[in-house]
Symmetry: C2
DNA sequence: GGAGAATTAGGACGAGTGACCTAATCCGTC
DNA sequence: GACGGATTAGGTCACTCGTCCTAATTCTCC
């Protein structure tokens, strides 16, 4: 069973390093140093670097699914669940200002590389999109998926500008604007039903 | 004078390849093959890869400045100038869906690399921000710079999701939403003045 | 047309890359 | 406590990377 633990540790470290430095920029040597294992030893656990990437994406899919599931379970109102999403920007502000959004930056990098794992990486967006659409639908909004994509788009835009300008005040302002937009859309949805 | 032409060609090709494949992923060999010159020969024109990056950023600053200047000169109304900005998303749609936004993706990559040229790359955002703020101010909007950053943020968010989902219809929908938002902000500005 | 500078061709260098291998070591099972 | 599969250590492989040289070539100007 020790092997499984080592493998999980490699994936966890690779996950962090892929985020912080980018997939291609991160070398086996770097991961090995962080995990404290011999460099050539990766090939007992993974056949290639692409296989590590696939494992990292799978790990992110699992952890994101778990996060969204906990929100569905522990947060009562759909409106508050939307705020939970928006608040990611504040909770991870420091990391976002240095490394961008892990989902968006990976998808963009893999797209530039024309990497086969691009579509798998986009699956992370799907998780958030579906979660958000669920909440908008529960709030009685028509075209819930379009609203979900719009909110996703805003979080990505804020992440990019946060990385560029590194201004926490700007991020806070856009978060407030997102909350306002959500409330307006909900109001529009209930008005349409009346 | 032949040297200057070769240098300019190297910069132009590097510009394209840095955009399409990313800065770090693009090698001298790749650039050399595209320019049809000997690989080791770069060091007559540039002392290092970072120097090529600096030249590419300078080139983008110049071409962006020229583009915005032409808009200021040839487009009469500030409102139409804002539309010109939004329309970049349609005009460059195919490239954006494959490689993302050249400004945003470079800034994010350099941030991950903790590269010294990061701040210079962010200067490209400044050009657009100032241009947009100028137009909002001319339209009588208060907090023109905040509105400019918001529009910039949206274009970045759309670029990231366009790269992820590669759906032209989604891009078109967000462009329309951006136009609506602009009109509402202008209306708000004139109402406040009345 | 010849001197001298600008430019190019064509490697070579050490370091680092992902990939691969084999021998040693660990550890649960009988 | 010896066996056998699971795991690790550590080194090697071919290759590419950015960088750097030097010799040849081209161009400019007297």
């Amino acid at each position: 069973m020790r092997g499984a633990e080592t493998k999980a540790e490699i994936i966890a470290v690779a996950d962090r390093l892929f985020y912080q430095g980018g997939f291609e920029h991160t070398s086996f040597a770097e991961i090995a140093a962080a995990v404290n294992i011999a460099r050539g030893n990766f090939y007992y656990h993974f056949k290639s670097k692409d296989e590590i990437l696939a494992a990292v994406i799978a790990r992110r899919m699992a952890s994101t699914t778990a996060l969204l599931e906990s929100w569905r379970r522990e947060i009562d109102s759909p409106r508050a669940r939307l705020s939970a999403f928006v608040n990611i920007l504040a909770a991870n502000g420091d990391k976002i200002m240095r490394y961008g959004c892990p989902v968006g930056s990976l998808a963009t990098e893999l797209s530039k590389l024309m990497h086969a794992a691009r579509e798998a990486a986009v699956g992370l967006f799907d998780l958030f999109r579906d979660f958000l659409a669920e909440q908008f639908a529960a709030l009685g909004c028509a075209k819930a998926e379009a609203l979900a994509l719009h909110l996703l788009m805003r979080s990505q835009g804020v992440a990019v500008l946060a990385t560029a300008y590194r201004d926490p005040d700007y991020v806070a302002a856009e978060m407030a604007a997102m909350e306002d937009w959500i409330d307006r859309e909900i109001a529009r949805g209930t008005a349409a039903r009346a």
